[in-house]
């Protein structure tokens, strides 16, 4: 649901769920990311990939996490939520390979809500994030702690 009103950390309570848009990953996207960051045969070369554990040319696992971040960022921006970063990921699983033409979307569920220090301009939310492909297969699942601007925090205006 789109909104024009800023939503603060105080508003994001456990149980709230966000559905993101989709991003389709092309063969060229896979090759470009791999050339920069993960130049292994199964991300660069179809023939090598067919012999590999993945069974075909597939995206780097870190490409998938980067696309997850884009989906999450766009969704929070659309909701007027001030995302001020993340301090970590307690757990992440790569469950299925992502192949050229796959379309990914994420579901982000708030599972915990924790204040930072008294004078902090943000609070933490812990989120379970699941990324699915177009067939409804889960490709990654993770739990991450996000820093969200608080009401009266004015983090971006110092």
């Amino acid at each position: 649901m789109a909104t024009t009103q800023t939503r603060y950390w105080q508003d994001l309570l456990p149980g709230e769920c966000f559905e993101t848009e989709n991003i389709t990953i092309s063969r060229q996207d896979i090759l470009d990311f791999a050339a920069d960051f993960d130049p292994q045969p199964y991300h660069l070369n179809s023939e090598a990939a067919e012999e590999s554990i993945f069974g075909g040319l597939c995206a780097s696992g870190w490409h998938v996490t980067a696309v997850m971040m884009r989906l999450l960022t766009d969704t929070f921006t659309g909701q007027h939520i001030e995302l001020l970063g993340s301090n970590g990921v307690s757990d992440l699983r790569w469950r299925k390979p992502v192949f050229a033409g796959d379309s990914l979307s994420a579901r982000i569920k708030v599972v915990d809500h924790e204040a930072a220090s008294a004078d902090s301009p943000f609070g933490y939310i812990n989120c379970d994030v699941e990324v699915d492909n177009q067939n409804g297969d889960q490709v990654i699942a993770l739990t991450t702690s996000l820093m969200i601007g608080i009401e009266g925090g004015a983090a971006n205006h110092g």
Binding site: F33, D36, F37, D38, P39, Q40, P41, N45, E47, A48, S52, I53, F54, S60, G61, W62, T65, A66, V67, M69, R70, T73, D74, T77, L83, L84, G85, S86, N87, G88, V89, S90, D91, L92, R93, W94, P121, F122, A155, N156, H157, G158
Partner: protein, 162 residues
């Protein structure tokens, strides 16, 4: 087309717990930080060197996922060098997952990270007839010696054929 050359290294059985490597150093440029931010994490503190001054971070910082991607690149480059001359060792396997990933300090343009890993655990379960799982603790330090990034990753490693 030439037969693709796999990066090969030691079999699962030959990787000792406790082995420690300093495997790469990388200096982050403003241009690369902004490019990655625009593509994958479009927030002003990742995309706009001027605008970032007025944010919590008081300047441009790299996306945490950019740090992860550079970790991967350093690891691949190191494995290639380390594997030089190895003809029949294991092929690199896929990552299964990771835990306890922490982004502890901002990484800014011009910062140089040095990456280390230590093998901390071997999972003896046999997966799909031929793989074991190696767990390593990975850390990155900046040029001031501060720990900025750490995590533990599980990677499939091929077992010696019987």
């Amino acid at each position: 087309m030439d037969k693709p050359v796999y990066i090969r290294s030691r079999w699962f059985e030959d990787l000792p717990v406790g082995e420690f490597h300093v495997f790469g150093s990388y200096t982050f440029s403003e241009k690369e930080i902004v490019e990655f931010g625009r593509k994958y994490a479009p927030q002003i503190y990742h995309t706009d060197p001027e605008g970032a001054r007025d944010t919590l971070y008081r300047g441009l910082i790299a996306s945490g996922w950019h740090i992860c991607a550079i970790w991967m690149r350093m690891m691949v480059d190191y494995m290639e060098r380390f594997a030089t001359g190895v003809q029949d060792g294991r092929r690199n396997g896929a990552g299964v997952g990771f835990q306890d990933l922490k982004w502890l300090k901002p990484v800014r343009p011009g910062h140089t990270l040095t990456f280390t890993y230590e093998i901390i655990k071997k999972d003896e379960r046999v997966i799909r007839d031929r793989w074991g799982i190696i767990r390593s603790r990975n850390e990155a330090f900046n040029q001031y010696g501060e720990l900025v990034f750490s995590f533990e990753i599980d990677i499939l490693a091929e077992r010696r054929p019987t």
